[in-house]
Symmetry: C2
C-alpha cells in the first residue's frame, strides 16, 4: 500500500524553508507516484486540528514557485506541546494514517519530535529536517536558512559601512541571535582590510559590558574616524543577564522559556547610552528585525540547493526509523548524515571558540574561512577616496 | 585651454550616486581628454578646506568599480553653508581654477548651489545633479537613488508579508521619508491581491492619528487574520506634529532645520502603544534604517543607468550656464531637461494626490502604474496555503 507522509514547518521562517518542503514532496512522488503527501497548516497545530492540505495534488510548476518563495508556505507555530497536546497530535497523525511525520524546524522542533517519537512507540517514524537562521544545531556544520540570512547580514554591513564612510559616525547594527553568534559574525565575512567595517563584533558567546563597548568604539573612532559595530541582540553580561533585559529593565519570555529579544528596545537604549557617552559622535543604531531571516533579495543559491536536498533526504530517512538529518562537511566535502532526534533536541550549538578573537572583537582567519565557504564572493566594489 | 570641473556629493547616500560621479568624469574625459576633473572630499567641506582628489588620474576600470559601489565615494556632508562659509567655498573653487562645479544631491544641495551661483556673479557655472531616495524634488518625474531604495522597500515588504503569513500577527515597518510618502508607498508596489500586505500604508501627506491606526489595524486583522503596515517615519497629526515627536516627547533638528526622525524611537513607542491597545495580537515593529538607502543587494538597473546619464548630462549642461537637471517622463518616454536652480532649491515635491487613496490607506491604480514603471517585475513567488 502507498505510504502517507505528513509534513509541517515549525518556528521562525527562513528564505529557503520551502525548498525543503518541495524537495520532500517531489522525492516522495518520485519514489512512488501513488504516495500521499499531506501538509499541516501552522505546524503541529494543524495536525491536532485536522487542518491538512493534500500536497500530492499540487502540480510541479506550482511546487517550484513555492520552493523559491521565502517563509513557511504551510504556516508555522511556536507552540511547545505538553503531554496532552502531544496526545492530540498523535491522534491527528493516526487519523491521517501517516506513516511518517517530517517536521522542518530548529532544536525546539526536534524536541517536539523526540517527545512524539517516544509516545508513538514505533507505530510510525519521525524525521527532523533542520532549518534555522541561528545556525545553532549541534551535529551540523551549518543549517539550511543560515547561509541566506548570513548573506543578507554581509550585504547589509558592506552597505552600511560605505554609508558611514561617506558621513562618518558611530553605527551599530543589531543582529538576530539569542545564544549563538554565527549570524552576527557573518557581518564581517566580506571584510578585507583593517579599515573595513564592521570594526567590532559582539557575540553572545563572549561576556559583554557597555563600558567596554564605549572604550572599544572610542579607540576605533580615533583610529579610523568612524566605527561600525555588529552586535548580537543576545549579548549578555558576565552573570548571564541579557543586555536587552538590563537596559530596558524587563524580561519577556516565549512559550519555550526563551527570553524575547526582538523589537527595537535594545537598539534605542543603546543609542541613548552611546549618544550620552560619545557626545562628539554622530551615533546611529539600527535593529534589522524580520527582513534578515527571509529576505527575497538575499536567497543564497548554496542554501536553496542544500535545503532542497534535506527535504529529499528526509523522505529517504523516514524508511529507516526516526532521525534528525545533519549537514556535515569533511575535507571540504558536504554530506548529510542521520543522527538520533535526542542528539539535536533542545541543544544549542555555539560558535566555535576558534572562529572568534574575543580580545579583538573580530573573526579569526578560521572563522573567515568558514563564512567564505558558505557565502557567494564579495561584490567587486571599492571606496578608495574616504 | 582645457576646462576644470569640480564635483562633490552632498546629503545622504544612495545606491547609485557614484554612477552619477563616474558618468560625469567619463563624459568630461570624452569631450576633452585634457579636461581636469577634481573631486571634493566630504562635499563643500572639502572645497573650503582644499581637500581635493584628481579624478582625471583614475583609470576607467577603477572608475567602473566605483560606479557600482553604493554610497558617496567622495564622502558627503550635511553642512548648510552661511554667507561666510559660501565665501570660503568660492575661494576654494577659484583656487582650484574650476570652470564648473557639479554638486550631486537633493533640494538642500540645490539650495547651496543657488546661493553660490548668485555670489559668483557669472564667473563659473553651477550644476545640480539630482539624487535622493525620498524622490521629493520638484520638476522631476523621479530622482536617481529612489528606484533602488524603492526596490529594497518592495522586496522587504514582500518578504515580511510572507513571514507574517506564516506566523500571523501585526507587523509595522517604519520607512524613511520626512515629508514625501513615495518610499513608503513603494512598499505596496508588488501587491496583487486584497490579502497581500502591506494592507495599510501611512504617508506624511495624510494627517495621521494613532487612534485611527488602531481601528484600521483591528479591521484588517478581523478580515485577514494578520495585518502588515507600511508607515513613513514622517507621519504627522492634523496640526503638523510628527508622530515621532509626539510619542517620544522630544524634537531634534539637523543643521537644515529638519526634524531628525531617525533612530528606532518611533518604532519602539509604536510597538508599546499597539501592544497595549491590541492585547490579543502578536505585535512587531521594525524600523528599517540605513540599509534601505544604499543596499548593495537592491541596486535597480534602471536607476544605475539613469544616474550615470545624469552625470553625463551635468557635464553637457555646465557649458550653457547654471542649471538643475531633471528627469521627465512624457507619454512613457524618459528624458532629461534643464531647469533653473531656484526652481528646485529647498522645495519639496509631495506624492501626487492621485497616487494615494487616503480613505483606504492604499495606493491607487495610478500610483501602482507609477511604481511599476520604476521597479523590476515582481518575483514569481506564491504563498498558496496560508
Amino acid at each position: 500500500m502507498a505510504r502517507t507522509y505528513l509534513i509541517a514547518q515549525g518556528g521562525g521562517p527562513t528564505a529557503v524553508i520551502n525548498q525543503t518542503l518541495v524537495g520532500a514532496v517531489l522525492e516522495a512522488r518520485k519514489r512512488d507516484p501513488k504516495a500521499k503527501v499531506l501538509g499541516a497548516r501552522y505546524g503541529v497545530r494543524g495536525i491536532a486540528a485536522g487542518d491538512l492540505i493534500d500536497l500530492s495534488a499540487v502540480g510541479e510548476a506550482d511546487l517550484m514557485r513555492i520552493a523559491r518563495t521565502p517563509s513557511s508556505a504551510l504556516g508555522s507555530t511556536r507552540d511547545k506541546p505538553d503531554a496532552e497536546y502531544c496526545e492530540r497530535i498523535l491522534a491527528g497523525l493516526a487519523k491521517a494514517s501517516a506513516d511518517a511525520f517530517i517536521y522542518i524546524g530548529g532544536n525546539d522542533t526536534a524536541g517536539t519530535l523526540e517527545i512524539l517519537d517516544r509516545a508513538a512507540k514505533g507505530s510510525m517514524t519521525f524525521v527532523h529536517a533542520p532549518k534555522t537562521v541561528d545556525n545553532d544545531l549541534v551535529e551540523n556544520d551549518h543549517t539550511p536558512g543560515f547561509p541566506s540570512a548570513a548573506l543578507f547580514v554581509a550585504q547589509t554591513f558592506l552597505s552600511v559601512d560605505f554609508d558611514v564612510r561617506s558621513l562618518p559616525g558611530v553605527y551599530v547594527g543589531v543582529v538576530m541571535g539569542r545564544n549563538a553568534g554565527f549570524l552576527t559574525a557573518s557581518a564581517a565575512a566580506w571584510r578585507r582590510q583593517e579599515n573595513d567595517g564592521p570594526h567590532l563584533v559582539y557575540v553572545p558567546e563572549t561576556p559583554f559590558s557597555v563600558e567596554k563597548l564605549i572604550a572599544d568604539v572610542s579607540a576605533v573612532r580615533e583610529r579610523f574616524g568612524r566605527c561600525v559595530v555588529a552586535m548580537s541582540e543576545g549579548v549578555a553580561s558576565e552573570d548571564g543577564t541579557p543586555l536587552a533585559a538590563k537596559l530596558s529593565g524587563r524580561v519577556e519570555k516565549d512559550p519555550h522559556g526563551n527570553v524575547v529579544l526582538s523589537g527595537g528596545n535594545l537598539g534605542v537604549a543603546l543609542q541613548e547610552r552611546l549618544t550620552r557617552d560619545l557626545p562628539k559622535a554622530r551615533v546611529r543604531v539600527d535593529t534589522f528585525g524580520y527582513p534578515q531571516r527571509a529576505f527575497i533579495g538575499a536567497v543564497n543559491p548554496l542554501d536553496s540547493q542544500e535545503a532542497f536536498e534535506v527535504g529529499k533526504q528526509a523522505i529517504a530517512a523516514s524508511w529507516t526509523g526516526s532521525h534528525s538529518i545533519a549537514i556535515t562537511v569533511t575535507s571540504g566535502k558536504t554530506a548529510m548524515k542521520l543522527v538520533p532526534l535526542a542528539s539535536v533536541a533542545a541543544k544549542t550549538r555555539l560558535m566555535p571558540a576558534e572562529f572568534f578573537d574575543a580580545s579583538a572583537n573580530q573573526i579569526t582567519p578560521a572563522g573567515m574561512a568558514y563564512f567564505a565557504r558558505l557565502l557567494p564572493a564579495r561584490p567587486d566594489v571599492a571606496a578608495p577616496f574616504v
